[in-house]
């Protein structure tokens, strides 16, 4: 790692104040930032340790939802009884990610801001517009098996690697932020951005912004939901494709639906039209396939990842079928 200075923030305001200086980065669990610093992909001059700020609680909200502290660990979030019973798809998504050790370290806020696992992004000997704007994209025309099939640009085809975020997208979570210009709430769908011609920018956060919490609305689709992750090995691997699915059922008819895909785009992929295609319809594989096709209608494969299009369609049908059948809120 390159040399840097280290300081511990003693309050959220202190953290935001310190982050004003350029070249400053917050460190929470450290599991993504330190990895990238070792690979020399990022090289902050100042680290501000926010891991001990009292933003690690999980609390009920007045609206009947749940507030997840930005510094609550992924493991503590996944095993929280309220999360397990009211938002089982979220618990399942978190436990499908990384390893037990990493989940003990990783924070909720840090998980939202983890960078892509694109090989070229990590390899400083190769061009990458995300790491080095204007240098080109190694993955386009290179090895792109893990890359995007939706929402990509001719500058970057990276995917966002998080599992947690796919469930948060389906649940319509809200990200609470405090920054140099005060506090604001960002709906999850607006939090991450598509690469466009600025692939170096992953989210709508501005310099100095600190995530304080993630709010879950009351509706958790606890009775009929699941998280399905397809990957190259059974555990401890990033998703090739993942699906967060939540249904509200009225007998055999779908009353409400949420559907988000991971591993396919620069952000969790959701489309209200795909969900509309399910609502009021019978919960059958044909209907599910139809909705999958709507969600994937603009999908475009590259040399090595075209398999993801059919994989995603099948994964959606399987996840929705599981969600429709599921009763109660089983422990993940």
């Amino acid at each position: 790692m390159r040399s840097f200075t280290y300081a511990r923030a003693d309050s959220a305001a202190d953290a935001v104040g310190r982050a004003g200086a350029s070249g400053t980065a917050f460190v929470a669990g450290g599991t993504n930032l330190l990895d990238l610093m070792k690979a020399d992909v990022v090289h902050p001059e100042r680290l501000v340790d926010i891991s001990r700020l009292p933003l690690d609680r999980i609390e009920d909200t007045a609206e009947g939802g749940l507030r997840l502290g930005a510094l609550a660990r992924n493991a503590d979030t996944a095993y929280d009884e309220r999360v397990q019973t009211r938002y089982p798809m979220l618990s399942k998504a978190i436990l499908a990610g990384a390893s037990a050790q990493l989940r003990n370290m990783a924070t909720n806020g840090g998980n939202l801001l983890q960078r892509t696992r694109c090989y070229y992004f990590y390899d400083t000997a190769t061009p990458c517009n995300k790491r080095e704007p204007g240098s080109g994209c190694g993955a386009i025309g290179g090895v792109n098996r893990i890359h995007a099939i939706l929402g990509a640009s001719d500058q970057c085809i990276a995917v966002h690697p998080s599992d947690l975020c796919v469930a948060l997208a389906a649940l319509e979570a809200v990200v609470q932020v405090t920054g140099p210009e005060g506090e604001r709430s960002i709906p999850f769908a607006e939090f991450h951005r598509l690469p466009g011609d600025r692939p170096e920018i992953d989210t709508v956060l501005r310099p100095g912004d600190l995530i304080t919490a993630i709010d879950l609305p009351a509706k958790g689709f606890a009775e009929h939901s699941t998280y399905l992750k397809i990957r190259d090995r059974a555990s401890y691997a990033f998703a090739l494709v993942s699906v967060a699915a939540g249904l509200e059922m009225d007998g055999g008819t779908v009353r409400d639906a949420r559907l988000a895909l991971g591993g396919v785009a620069h952000k969790p992929w959701r489309d209200p039209e795909a969900e509309a295609a399910l609502i009021g319809k019978p919960a059958t594989p044909d209907q599910f396939r139809g909705a999958a096709r709507v969600l994937l209608r603009d999908a475009k494969g590259h040399e090595h990842n075209s398999f993801k299009i059919e994989l995603a369609e099948r994964a959606i049908v399987r996840a929705l079928t599981e969600a429709a059948e599921r009763k109660g809120a089983p422990r993940p």
Binding site: S3, T31, S51, Y79, A100, Q101, M105, S235
Partner: protein, 178 residues
């Protein structure tokens, strides 16, 4: 090699002031003065001569560096020693009680749960964390919750058997306790 840009600080820039870091390692309080970028893993191995904890990948991908911090298993390669200031660290060297091996250590020997042994300290510390978490009861759950520890020698079936035995031993001990 990395395309070094003129704007980057050279790796040889004078180091910032060392940071005082106090850790209670295997029950003994130690204060070190470390460069900010010293990981917990390097602090243990290079500054405290506790070389039982291994460096496999140095990127969170193998679990060889697993230790317990305040009783929870983490990858010591992806945290800075300074971030753990004031905490209790348990490494493989600290699992024994006097001359008595930890039930996991005994079970690993009994089940031949290693070949080269490089992953073993991490496996055992991880398993100690797993047992404390109390989320695994079946072999499948042990396998899933131990997936953060890779074994190049492929001793997995015996590792699972050893953990299952130690888990039962710890449970029996807890039941028998006054």
């Amino acid at each position: 090699m990395a395309q070094l840009k003129a704007s980057l600080r050279p790796a040889t820039a004078p180091p910032p002031e060392p940071i005082p870091v106090t850790l209670t390692v295997n029950g003994v309080e130690r204060t070190l003065h470390l460069a900010p970028w010293t990981t917990l893993l390097d602090a243990l191995r290079l500054h405290l001569d506790l070389t039982g904890t291994k460096k496999g990948c140095d990127h969170g991908q193998c679990g060889a560096c697993t230790v317990l911090v305040d009783g929870r298993r983490i990858n010591s390669c992806l945290t800075l020693a300074a971030m753990q200031d004031g905490r209790k660290v348990t490494t493989i060297e600290g699992l024994t009680t006097g001359d008595a091996l930890h039930p996991l250590q005994e079970a690993f020997i009994e089940h031949d749960a290693f070949q080269c042994g490089y992953c073993t300290p991490g496996q055992i510390c991880s398993a100690a964390g797993l047992i404390a978490e109390g989320k695994a009861s079946t072999d499948d759950e042990i396998r899933e919750l131990m997936s953060g520890n890779l074994c190049r020698c492929g001793a997995y079936p015996n590792i699972v058997a050893a953990i299952r035995q130690a888990m039962a031993a710890v449970a029996t001990k807890a039941e028998g306790a006054p």
